[in-house]
Amino acid sequence: MTDVAEPDPEEGGPAVEDGDGDDAYLAQVMVEIDEEVRRKRAELPARVERELDALFLEHSPMAGRGGDLGDALRLVETSAFIDPVVPVASKRPAGALIKKSLRTANLWYVGWVAHQVSQFAAAVSRSLRLVDNRLVELQRQLDAVAVPAAPVVDAGVAGAWWTEPAIDALAGSTGRVLHAACGDGWLVVALADKGVDAYGVDPRPGAVDGADLSATDLREEDPGEHLHAVASAALGGIVLSGVVDGMTAGQRQQLLERAADRLAPEGVLVVHSVSPAVWHADSAPAEVDLAPGRPVRPQAWTLLLPGWNVEVVPGPNAQDYLVVARR
């Protein structure tokens, strides 16, 4: 049971807040602050913020930078030896002599304890080294059978038919909207023009290089890894285009679950996908042959997003379609 202690009636309790009014007022202030951030992006691009993060990490301990097990083991091994011969230097006259006498008198005892502690630490570090070697071997075997990352195929271009319905679905978003894969940021710019605080990520090397990074927040990053780092319920909308088509069922499920968690309760998920037949055509790019998975038909999305209100907008010539999902 939960007892929420009630205010003392003799004191009249806490003053009543104008909750709804304050909520609306502060929400509007935050919207205006977000607009100010966008206006200032030319002076302080998102790239500079990332440079600030990287600069601080240079001063962080190894573990804070996600160092690997090998680095950690080297630290353990270098600190595994306990030296019983304590320093005897002293600033005081005769201090060093006194310390040395004490050390000599106690060395038989301290040395015995230190030897056992060192033995224990060495045994632990040897065990960890064996575990590390075994993990490296397992990793090597896993790499041989690993499912490759899905390629980004047909992520869209400015003027694509689905731009307008996607923007309509996201126009009222109160939180940030993520576009993956964003390419040169064409959709991010279009969303920003409508007042949406949008940014993009794209895993393809050099995909965002052609964009004006001082004006738009675009990052060369894997969408799955990016979403992993985003807090729960932090985003107002997510657009996935060209991202899920080549994924295996497991990869797709994991990405969609992560996206659902990162969206605010009122958030909107927009997915652009091609029809499976398009990938079987001779005109399909070579990447589709190497992709671990295949696109799904529009009707599969109600099964992929159970409990969501899923709307499918078919594209011209049944070549592709847009999924707009809300909870």
């Binding site: 939960t2 007892d3 202690a5 304050d22 100010e36 302080l44 600030l52 001063h59 573990a63």
Partner: protein, 366 residues
């Protein structure tokens, strides 16, 4: 029932748990209970205010209720685990080990041990008290079956004492050269993320106010984090603009609150966040990262940002410092928050919750 005795790992002046303990003792005694404080360690300034915790065994009496101020690992927890008296856990939160272990393994180990002790004590407690819903969730997750949220007892009057004139003069002297003064009060440790404040200050100086300064008030238990923070500030050319004041007296703290323009927090982990309340009491606007218990503590009395982006924090600070109407509205909401935490009122609520376990006193000897 005759007495409600408190146990605390360490009784320390100007410490949130220490102050709460002494104020709660005062409230319990005012309500007619006998109440003493038993501690594992007591600061020199408070000698005479507590007894060694093991001494309780010699004065234990039938009908006693024991209340443990839980904030860190301590031998007191293991002692209480063996006691037969009804136990109330007053939980002040434990910083998660993962927030500190990369920097300082000692505190991380102590946090892990504290969480182990919490898991052992919580199912045994007749009542768990928390000063925020965030802390209450921890108690319930640890196995506390009955919980209540009651305000932390905080003596805001310590800030109405005359501020240290040297601090005020130094801050006002700095203002002659222009620039806003940012303030954050809290231990300089990784979980408080002062490095994000440094980033935000850099962005604010870059975008709006090249003379702005940041004052970090609070103890510096992590030498490693402090060194990294100083080096980072130096890398950014902020060595004169980021000032680490360390732990200060009440008068000096009052001086910082009196002469600062904005209170900014990027802390990742606050069980309640008393300095946020102190900033409201001092009437300075609050801009804070919406993490842990911070949104509940700040309510409508400050601007809450969802992520620690330097540009967003800088824009929020700029907005609050240039919008008088916003400042007035936040200040009004802050006054309401502070009124909710009036000492007498909060003390009575805490005592009422404890009385539900301790029952009616039979020996109101005061």
């Amino acid at each position: 029932m005759t007495a409600v005795h408190q146990f605390v790992p360490a009784l320390i002046p100007r410490d949130a748990t220490g102050s709460h303990t002494l104020l709660l003792r005062q409230a319990l005694r005012a309500a007619g209970w006998r109440s003493e404080v038993f501690a594992e360690a007591t600061h020199d300034e408070l000698v005479g205010e507590s007894r060694y915790y093991e001494d309780y065994a010699s004065v234990a009496a039938p009908g006693d209720t024991l209340l443990y101020q839980f904030s860190t690992s301590s031998a007191v927890a293991d002692f209480l685990l063996e006691r037969p008296e009804p136990l109330v856990l007053d939980y002040h939160n434990v910083t998660r080990p993962e927030l500190t272990e990369a920097w300082d393994r000692g505190p991380a180990r102590r946090s892990a041990e504290a969480l182990r002790q919490l898991a052992a004590l919580a199912p045994r407690a007749a009542l768990g008290l928390a000063d925020s819903a965030f802390n209450e969730a921890d108690l319930r997750a640890a196995g506390c079956r009955r919980t209540a949220v009651v305000p932390v007892l905080v003596d805001l009057d310590r800030l109405t004492a005359p501020p240290d004139p040297r601090v005020v003069a130094r801050l006002r002297g700095g203002k002659e050269e222009g620039g806003a003064d940012w303030l954050f009060v809290g231990r300089v440790v990784p979980s408080k993320a002062q490095h994000d404040l440094v980033k935000a200050l850099w962005a604010y100086r870059h975008l709006y106010d090249p003379s702005a300064r940041l004052h970090l008030v609070g103890s510096t238990p992590s030498r490693r984090y402090l060194a990294a923070l100083r080096q980072f500030a130096e890398d950014l050319g902020l060595e004169g603009a980021v000032r680490v004041a360390g732990e200060v007296s009440d008068a000096a703290l009052a001086g910082y609150f009196a002469a600062s323009d904005v209170y900014v927090s990027t802390s990742r982990h606050e069980g309640f966040g008393i300095p946020l309340l102190e900033a409201m009491h001092a009437g300075i606007p609050v801009v804070a990262l919406a993490s842990s218990a911070v949104p509940a503590t700040v309510g409508h009395a400050g601007l809450l940002v969802d992520d620690p982006s330097p540009a967003r924090l800088a824009a929020a600070v700029h907005r609050v410092l240039t919008d008088a109407a916003l400042r007035a509205r936040l200040a009004e909401a802050g006054r309401r928050k502070v009124a909710d935490h009036g000492l007498e009122h909060s003390g009575r609520r805490a005592v009422a919750a404890i009385a539900g376990v301790a029952g009616e006193r039979s020996d109101p000897c005061g």
